[in-house]
């Protein structure tokens, strides 16, 4: 016996699950893509754990960029965006890539330009929360950061960095304590 229809998602983002479930059951038509798109949008709007949507995970410049993917298991077609700037609804833009292009993956400013052609507003993804995170990071000598084999020592100093002639032992890389956790993840 099959346990379908079904919605399951990572983490305790239950409002997104519920929205997808409601959409999935709103009609007898197959609307799995709508369910996924609108379910994930809930998390974007709610800024789930500050790991989804605008106003979280600032980069070294204090900017939030967004990544999203939709993969259709019937057609093996997909749409994705990476490093999307200044557009909030990343999952919907990925849906547009899926449904309105023969490509799979658009990135950066040109993904934003694609989105704007379909009416997505261009707006800042920075919030007071993300700005404060960024300010705290700068005040903490830019720790943690993801540079290696550069000068000055990225474990103690902010950039700009230049190439270091002293290469770290890359065999140790695999056991370095992770910088990722339940509040900082892909």
């Amino acid at each position: 016996s099959a346990n379908i229809p079904l919605v399951v998602n990572t983490w305790n983002f239950i409002n997104a699950t519920q929205k997808a479930w409601e959409i999935l059951n709103i009609s007898e038509n197959d609307n799995a893509l709508d369910a996924l798109t609108l379910g994930c949008k809930v998390c974007q709007d709610e800024q789930c754990d500050n790991t989804v949507g605008y106003g979280g995970s600032p980069d070294e410049n204090g900017e939030t960029t967004l990544d999203a993917l939709i993969f259709d298991g019937d057609t093996m077609d997909m749409g994705a965006v990476g490093g999307l700037r200044s557009v909030k609804n990343a999952i919907a833009v990925a849906r547009y890539v899926l449904e309105h292009s023969e490509h799979s993956f658009l990135v950066g400013n040109l993904a934003s330009a694609f989105a704007e052609k379909f009416g997505f507003p261009n707006e800042s993804l920075q919030t007071n929360f993300s700005l404060n995170l960024w300010e705290e990071w700068k005040a903490n000598n830019c720790q943690p950061n993801f540079w290696k084999n550069v000068f000055p020592d990225p474990k103690n100093h902010c950039g700009p960095y230049t190439e270091s002639n002293i290469l770290a032992d890359n065999t140790l890389t695999n056991t370095v304590p992770t910088k990722f956790n339940s509040r900082n993840h892909d």
């Binding site: 099959a2 346990n3 379908i4 229809p5 079904l6 919605v7 399951v8 998602n9 990572t10 983490w11 983002f13 239950i14 997104a16 699950t17 519920q18 479930w21 999935l24 197959d30 799995a32 369910a35 996924l36 379910g39 994930c40 500050n50 790991t51 989804v52 949507g53 995970s57 980069d59 900017e63 939030t64 960029t65 967004l66 990544d67 999203a68 993917l69 939709i70 993969f71 259709d72 298991g73 994705a80 990343a90 999952i91 990925a94 799979s104 993956f105 990135v107 950066g108 993804l125 990071w137 950061n145 993801f146 695999n174 056991t175 992770t178 990722f180 956790n181 339940s182 993840h185 892909d186």
Partner: protein, 137 residues
């Protein structure tokens, strides 16, 4: 990041992700989330998977693709999830991440590393009011 799997009544399976990525990333960095087979993957003939965690590591192992491939080879969702993440953990013992896997019948499995428990959310006929479930890492 949210990674989501949806299976419709007719068996149409889709998977996807949405994220703002790693905090304090070097500008231009993109993680695994938008990469097919890494952040998510689906094949309506077998099932789907979605992964979350350290995307710089995960994208090197395509855990979502591997999990669906394990379903194709006959593994249960639980075993597919474990095999998929174990491939990463073997090389990166401190890796942080989790994966959810669903087969085409709606059976669910999950696996994780680098945390005590990994929560995931489920809605189905048994749970029309969505519930949070946990797997111990």
């Amino acid at each position: 990041t949210i990674g989501m799997i949806v299976i419709s009544q007719s068996g149409h399976i889709v998977a996807g992700t949405s994220t703002n990525g790693a905090t304090y990333k070097i500008p231009g960095r993109v993680g695994d989330s938008p990469i097919p087979g890494a952040g998510a993957y689906a094949d309506s003939n077998y099932g789907a998977a979605a992964a979350t965690g350290d995307g710089d590591i995960m994208m090197r192992f395509l855990p979502s693709f591997l999990a669906v491939e394990q379903l194709r080879l006959g593994a249960s969702p639980e075993k597919a999830a474990k095999i998929s993440l174990s491939r990463i953990i073997d090389k990166y013992p401190t890796f942080f991440g989790g994966i959810i896997v669903a087969d085409k019948k709606g059976n669910i499995g999950a696996y994780c590393n680098g945390m005590e428990q990994f929560p995931f959310s489920v809605a189905s006929a048994d749970y029309p009011n969505s519930v949070i479930k946990y797997v111990n890492c």
